[in-house]
């Protein structure tokens, strides 16, 4: 086809654009064209054919980046035309020109309504296409009844577009669509497969939003998928001989949503998933796409061992393929499988290392993601090194933000020691301080302030290390804001611990005051520095004139916060004793008693009252104009409302309300022993639950079979860890020259992943995999962990370290068995082996504590299938009390208290399944909501609540 059917004018335009050599030339042509179009459009009585061409020319101009808004109204007018041809052009151009909130939409609604009821199905289709693209909130009431009626239109093309429009409605107002759920479900049974296929999209969205109410459709989806894979659809739906691949993939993604954490629903799917994968394996790309989707589905639903094996074997084909796209899918798929069972990664270590060095940026990123997901306490140092390297070299801000988040999360979860953690975080702060959330810095400060809390001398040594490190860092000419804030806080608190020669407190104060003059992006950074100086001067009675000069000069700063601090300094300096009391040494973790009733003001109030002042009334009382003589006590809170009265003269602020911003955080933290949103205990908790800590990824902890093997190894043993009991030719930590650079890297990266045999594969590929029985046999030979390991392991049952040393037929022994890759050979991933029955055993607690944050609870909450609601008549008066009781009686960890509501989290013992409690207190009534995976457990927890909280 050529341009023969175009008018000469348009043909010339297209040709000249095609021949233009620069953007400027192109712009000039289009500007001329727009002028011509405007002139044409202002003429009266334009024929439909001409109008069509003008519209298309206007689209052309917009496509090249010029404004053609003058043509919009004509496009809308075209849709009013009786002539079908003009109408279609009108709708097409409206779709291209307008958006849902455009003012011209008002003119389009009536036409749409009329056309939706037209007898001509092409008109209906055109209108529906526009509805899909342009519908907005206000239009839905006017349009949706018509669209729902079209779901039973005789023409299949109309039904199809109508269900897509319904999908669009669902995205805007879900409620409007959910009322018509039965009608939508009927579309799933439409005789025309393409209409059925179109309905999957909206059903998928509904399933995502309300998984519970869609569970009953699982058998239908499975049977549709079965029919498709068995080639029961007309040949028209084949694509490269694959039956309806898009429908298959959509069905698989719906199944993965509905099967998440639901064993019963997942069991329906196992057979079809296997069948689907088998049939898709025909060597065409689209088949691989289906297999990949199957893998995604398998890793999300309730795990089945056979299917996981199948998925892993397919993924290993992908990952070792020459085709770049398949390798990409392989790495991505492996990252998902690793979340269920990390052992599968070990097989592919060389490939992964190759991918890490691949010139392809995309592949590299995905590999980093994979590394992140398979990190454990043994390989954390190497993985973080890799991530940091990419953070150093990358310029893409999205990637950098992602990397910062990953490094921080790994460092907080798996840090082998506090020094490493501090150094890692310093590097992150240095490289991209602007991307680090403030919480991360607080966590670091808190760690310095509180220490590990076990050994006072170790904590002090750690503080000395931190102070020295930061002192050295301060000498650097440029530092990111967040790093300066951390430095200022640490030095302000602990400068006296510095042990570097030649640095006295005076020198440190001078360094800090020099630092104030640097340019900063965050205005509060200077506040940190001033407060640090304040603390140094207060605690040590320093007389540093430079510091005082600088503080004085910032009294006129435009930052009110900074000004405030400087003036406070001026005042405090008058009485050094008070200053020392206000800024005590190493007291950031102490509780600050806040006198909420302000009783110390009583005498002042009484004096004023005696002098004839009116008693204070709060806003609601004033508004109600009630009898007011009985409010002798002063109250500080007033309800927000307009205040027409002049403010009272400010009373002198009590000293306790004085803490500078830095300390406010600590004060808040110290006040409530309850961990708030931050998971600050991260760096000190690298227990075995670290790897599959569910909160980390927002994924349900489906595979509690994650590696407990780290129990018997010390994290600092590096890559020699890969060897466990069962094999002979293993790459040693000191390689005898045979191990090249890559293998070394692989071994380091994959240490602790449990695939012991696989780890040795690259070195000696001919060694057969030891049978699981062999692997099981010599657990007694397992090395007694070095003493350092015992300290580091924060095991839940305190007895385990001894068990590891002297294997006895108790729970610990079973754990050891579970450590090697015999996990693979077990038919189903048994969460935690039950210890053999013992003569006398204390009753197992139902729940154990679980450290999560509120957002994590929010993310996991809907995935837990069972819910129990209990109403308790309680004697509890406050949420704090309730939390305390929960903590003691039910062994759960508090997550957050919001007003009169509290959230607590626990894990179901034995195992790691989360169980969340949400309590709403309105004394004497207490409503508790319990969510967990298993209905029986939920009931037990509910009973426990009844007993504990009444």
């Amino acid at each position: 086809m050529s341009g023969g059917h175009l008018s000469k004018e348009f043909f010339e335009l297209v040709k000249s654009i095609g021949e233009s050599r620069s953007k400027q030339e192109e712009d000039k042509i289009i500007v001329g064209e727009i002028a011509i179009l405007k002139q044409h459009l202002s003429a009266p009585n334009i024929s439909a054919k001409k109008m069509k061409e003008y519209m298309i020319r206007a689209v052309y101009a917009e496509m090249l980046g010029h404004d053609a808004s003058f043509a919009y109204i004509h496009a809308v007018k075209l849709t009013h035309e009786k002539n079908l041809f003009a109408k279609r052009i009108g709708y097409l151009t409206c779709n291209l020109f307008l958006h849902k909130d455009h003012e011209l939409m008002l003119l389009l609604i009536n036409t749409m309504q009329r056309d939706l009821q037209s007898a001509n199905h092409i008109e209906v289709c055109s209108a529906l296409a526009s509805v899909c693209r342009l519908v907005n909130l206000e239009m839905i009431p006017a349009i949706s009844p018509l669209v729902f009626k079209l779901l039973s239109h005789p023409q299949e093309a109309v039904r199809k577009k109508a269900i897509v429009a319904v999908h669009k409605f669902f995205k805007i107002v879900p409620e409007a669509v959910l009322d018509q759920k039965d009608q939508i479900r009927k579309v799933l049974c439409d005789p025309d497969p393409s209409v059925m296929g179109a309905s999957l999209h909206v059903l998928c969205e509904i399933a995502k939003a309300h998984p519970a109410s869609s569970k009953d459709l699982v058998p239908s989806f499975v049977s549709i998928l079965k029919q498709i894979t068995e080639h029961r659809l007309p040949r028209d739906f084949d694509y490269h001989r694959m039956p309806a691949p898009w429908l298959q993939v959509k069905l698989l993604s719906i199944l993965s949503i509905l099967g998440t954490a639901d064993k019963a629903a997942s069991e329906h799917m196992y057979e079809i998933l296997q069948e689907c994968m088998r049939r898709a394996d025909s060597g065409v790309n689209v088949g691989y796409a289906i297999i990949y989707e199957c893998v995604k589905c398998i890793t999300r639903i309730f795990p089945d061992h056979g299917l996981l094996e199948l998925a892993a074997s397919n993924i290993s084909r992908f990952i070792s393929s020459e085709n770049h796209n398949l390798r990409y899918l392989g790495v991505t798929g492996l990252a998902q499988i690793v979340q269920v069972n990390p052992a599968y990664a070990a097989e592919h270590q060389m490939v992964v290392v190759d991918c890490l060095e691949d010139p392809d940026e995309t592949l590299k990123r995905k590999t980093l993601d994979l590394l992140f997901r398979m990190t454990n306490p043994q390989n954390v140092v190497v993985v973080v090194d890799k991530l940091t390297f990419h953070l150093r070299t990358s310029v893409d801000s999205h990637l950098r933000r992602d990397l910062v988040q990953k490094i921080t999360s790994l460092a907080e979860r798996f840090a082998p020691d506090n020094e490493w953690y501090v150094n890692t975080m310093n590097t992150v702060f240095e490289l991209s301080g602007e991307l680090v959330p403030a919480e991360t810095a607080y966590n670091l400060m808190r760690l310095v302030a509180e220490g590990a809390g076990e050994d006072e001398s170790a904590d002090t040594a750690f503080r000395v290390f931190a102070v020295n490190t930061y002192l050295k860092l301060l000498e650097k000419p440029t530092l990111s804001d967040i790093l300066v804030q951390v430095i200022a806080w640490v030095l302000g608190e602990y400068a006296r611990l510095a042990t570097i020669d030649g640095y006295t407190i005076e020198d440190i104060a001078d360094l800090l005051s020099e630092c104030i003059e640097r340019p900063f992006e965050d205005p509060s950074t200077r506040g940190y520095l001033v407060t640090a100086l304040l603390k140094l001067i207060g605690q040590h009675g320093l007389k540093s004139t430079t510091a005082e000069d600088i503080i004085r000069s910032y009294r006129s700063s435009r930052m009110t916060d900074l000004q405030q601090r400087c003036y406070e300094f001026e005042q405090l300096r008058q009485s050094p004793a008070l200053m020392r009391k206000v800024l005590p040494y190493d007291a950031s973790c102490e509780d600050i008693a806040v006198n909420k009733d302000l009783t110390f003001l009583e005498s002042f109030v009484r004096q004023k009252l005696d002098e004839g002042a009116k008693p204070y009334q709060n806003a609601s009382e004033r508004a109600a104009r009630a009898q007011t003589q009985n409010v002798p006590k002063a109250e500080v809170e007033t309800k927000p409302s307009l205040n027409f009265m002049p403010y009272e003269a400010p009373t002198k602020a009590p000293p306790v309300s004085f803490p500078p911003a830095v300390e406010t955080h600590d004060a808040a933290g110290g006040e409530a022993p309850v961990p708030t949103g931050l998971n600050v205990s991260g760096p000190r908790k690298w227990g075995p639950s670290g790897y599959n800590q569910p909160g980390g990824k927002g994924e349900p902890p489906q595979a509690p079979a994650a590696p407990p093997q780290e129990k018997h190894v010390a994290p600092d043993q590096g890559f020699s860890q890969v060897q466990t009991s069962s094999q002979k030719p293993v790459p040693k930590a000191e390689p005898s020259g045979a191990m090249n650079e890559k293998q070394r890297m692989a071994a380091a990266l994959f240490s602790g992943l449990g695939g012991a045999a696989a780890a040795s594969a690259p070195a000696a590929p001919s060694v057969p995999k030891p049978a699981p029985a062999v692997a099981r046999a010599p657990p007694q030979e397992k090395e007694a962990p070095p003493p350092s390991a015992v300290d580091l392991l924060d095991l839940d049952d305190g007895g385990s370290p001894q068990i590891a040393q002297s294997p006895s037929p108790q729970g610990g022994d079973m754990l050891l068995l579970d450590m090697d890759d015999s996990v693979l050979a077990q038919p189903t991933p048994v969460p935690v082996p039950q210890p053999p029955p013992q003569p006398v055993q204390p009753p197992q607690p139902l729940l154990g504590p679980l450290q999560v944050t509120t957002p994590q609870v929010g993310a996991m909450w809907p995935q837990l299938a069972s819910e129990r609601v209990v109403q308790i008549h309680t004697s509890l008066g406050s949420c704090q009390e309730m939390m305390f009781r929960m903590q003691n009686a039910m062994n759960v960890s508090p997550v957050e208290i919001i007003g009169m509501e509290g959230i607590a989290a626990g894990r179901v013992l034995p195992g790691n399944d989360p169980c969340f409690l949400h309590g709403k207190l309105s004394p004497p009534r207490l409503d508790i909501k319990i969510r967990c995976r298993d209905a029986g457990v939920a009931q037990n927890v509910a009973d426990l609540c009844q007993r504990a909280l009444s």
Partner: protein, 152 residues
């Protein structure tokens, strides 16, 4: 779902763009610039996927044209490529050995075909025959209209 489809020539000229999510004209323009420079600079020996902001770009080169689809994090990349391929096959079938010029002179036809294949960012018709049937039906009807008008 697919967020947008782009066709750009090897020289970086836009041949077709379609957004399935609301996006102001200026952002579209900026996106096109950013995406096309990203993709035109990729070596042919790497995979056809690319992470971009919070999305994934899947692209494929057919003769002198790059077909680019922007999909969301959870979507299937390979399937998106096949969707692009399906579109190309449909174009090919309709125009008969499609070339860049066909798309330049009949880009509205390309939009019609795309509209038959994708609705609101999801593939709705995987049968080539059905797509072509709908298109030819529309063509016929418009021709009738035209003829009727000429006579009348």
């Amino acid at each position: 779902m697919i967020n947008f489809i782009l066709l750009i020539s090897r020289q970086g000229k836009t041949r077709l763009k379609k957004w399935f999510v609301p996006c102001p004209e200026r952002d579209q323009f900026r996106t096109i610039k950013e995406v096309s420079s990203l993709i035109l600079n990729r070596s042919p020996k790497v995979c056809n996927f690319l992470e971009w902001r919070d999305y994934k770009l899947c692209y494929k080169r057919y003769a002198s044209l790059f077909f680019i689809a922007c999909i969301e994090q959870n979507d299937n990349e390979l399937l998106a490529l096949e969707m692009v391929h399906h579109f190309v096959e449909c174009l090919d079938r309709y125009f008969g050995n499609v070339c860049e010029l066909d798309l330049i002179f009949n880009f509205h036809k390309a939009y019609y075909i795309l509209d038959e294949i994708l609705i609101s960012g999801e593939l709705q018709e995987s049968s080539k025959r059905a797509v072509l049937h709908h298109i030819s039906e529309q063509d016929a009807m418009m021709q009738e209209n035209e003829q009727a008008k000429r006579k009348g």
